[in-house]
Structure formats: structure tokens, C-alpha cells
Amino acid sequence: MFLGIFVGLFLLVSLFFNTLGIVSLYRFPDVYTRMHGATKCSTFGTLFTVFALLFYSFVRFMMEGESRFLVLMIHVFIGGVVLLISNPTGAHALARAAYRSGTVPEPAVVDALENTKKSKGGVAA
């Protein structure tokens, strides 16, 4: 009972942030601002799914002592670590590719990369 409520709370938080990620796709004006919501809100949301699963398998392992819950815990943990590394790397690659293919941040109050492009005759390598 207690376990179910706790895991459910974590999943609700996760769902809330993932939904915000989708909402931000409609609310924000250009590709860079949308990337903020779409990639980062979903990371934070999915981290809570990972926490929920970790907690669930930890409690079940402590209660019943079956090693399959420990295996689940290890796999979920590795999944979380991989998510933490691959998500920002992918977002970084997407943003860089978008800038290099000529997508200008609009609206933007300042664009430091624009000045670099002019002075060096190309986007910084």
C-alpha cells in the first residue's frame, strides 16, 4: 500500500514534467527555446521514472530477497546513467547542427555566435 502510493507519486511527477516538455513545444517560439523544454523537461521527468523503478525494486528486494529485483535495479540504474550522458550530448549535437545549417535564434536579445561567424569567416569549428 505504502509502496504503491510512493511509486505512484514519483510516476505522477515524472508524467507532469514530461507533459510540460510537450507543452513547451507549442509555447516557445524557435528551435533553440523549444529544445530547452523538449530535451530537459523530459530528462528530469524520466529520471523520476528511474527513481520510482529503483525504489520499487529496492523495496521488493528487501522484502522478498529475490535476486531478479536486484538485477532490475542494476539495469534501471545503468539506463539512468546512459540517459544522463546521451541526452545532453544529443541536444548539444542538435543545437550545433541547427546553428550550422543557418537557423537563426528568433527572437533573441543577443547572439554571440553571430559576431564570431563574421570575424572568423565561418562558424567556430
Binding site: H36, P88, P105, V110, L113, A124
Partner: protein
């Protein structure tokens, strides 16, 4: 050595299902040797016997960073962006700053930390280590390093150099 240890442990963790046999350990060892020999030719790895990545002090500092300032920053920034998604109150722009990081690993760690905390997104890092960051809400046109990434820069310099 770092690649060897990581791939060896990873293989064992992923294949472990309650018990461990000598065959699995042997296969893990052989595969880890092959992977680390192949990757030791890549630039910046320092060769097969380089033990720099295994320093316990660095790993301890990294874990303290991950569960201390990084976790706090992640939660705060997510809450901030969540509010901005709903209210639509943004002031975006691309700014640059130089965190004075010398190693490629340090730059990677800082760039990933900046990108993971919402509100800031690393767009480009040039050869001199100057970061170009897209920020969702700018408070000034030429912000300092602390305005963009808080204490992350200090930790990246301390752990990775």
C-alpha cells in the same frame, strides 16, 4: 585502463542474473581487453596503461558533485523552466564565456552539465575552449561564468582540470 575497467564491470553487471560463472568472467575479460586496446589508439586516451581515469579522489569528487551541487541545480532549474513554460516569460539569446578548461574531458563535463540543467543549452565550443551557450532567460547581455552555470565551472576545473 579506465576503458578496460568500465567495460569489464559493465559486462558483468549486465550479464549478472543471480549467479556468476567462470565462462562469463572470461568472456568479459577478453572483450574488455579487445575494446580497451582498440580505443587506446584514439586521441586523448593516453594509451592502454594510462591510469589517470581511475583516480579515486577524482571519482569521489565527481560523485560528490553529481549528488550535491548538480542535483540541486537540476531541480531548481527544472522548477524555474516549468514556470516559464506555463507563463511564457522568456528572454532568450546566445552568449559566450570562457571557463578556462584545459582538458577535453573537462569541457565535455561542463558542456553536458550546462545542457542538462534547463534554461541553458551549449550550442558550440570552439578550439580555444570558449563556450557558446543559448540561455532561455538572460539577465545581462555579457554575463559572467557564475551567471550561466553557477558553481559547475569550479567543479569541472577541480575534477577534470
Amino acid at each position: 585502463m579506465f576503458v578496460f575497467v568500465v567495460s569489464f564491470v559493465m559486462y558483468l553487471l549486465l550479464s549478472w542474473s543471480g549467479s556468476m560463472s567462470i565462462q562469463e568472467v572470461t568472456i568479459a575479460f577478453v572483450l574488455a581487453v579487445v575494446i580497451s586496446l582498440v580505443s587506446s589508439n584514439s586521441p586523448g586516451s593516453g594509451g592502454f596503461w594510462n591510469t589517470k581515469g581511475l583516480s579515486l579522489r577524482r571519482w569521489w569528487d565527481f560523485l560528490r558533485y553529481l549528488f550535491g551541487p548538480f542535483a540541486v541545480g537540476l531541480a531548481q532549474a527544472n522548477w524555474d523552466v516549468a514556470k516559464r513554460v506555463i507563463t511564457g516569460d522568456i528572454n532568450p539569446g546566445i552568449v559566450k564565456f570562457d571557463p578556462r578548461l584545459k582538458t577535453k574531458h573537462g569541457r565535455m563535463m561542463l558542456a553536458n552539465s550546462i545542457t542538462l540543467t534547463p534554461g541553458t543549452l551549449t550550442v558550440d565550443v570552439d578550439d580555444d575552449g570558449v563556450f557558446y551557450v543559448h540561455a532561455l532567460t538572460l539577465t545581462s547581455l555579457t554575463p559572467k561564468e557564475e551567471d550561466i552555470c553557477g558553481v559547475f565551472g569550479q567543479w569541472a576545473r577541480r575534477i577534470m582540470g
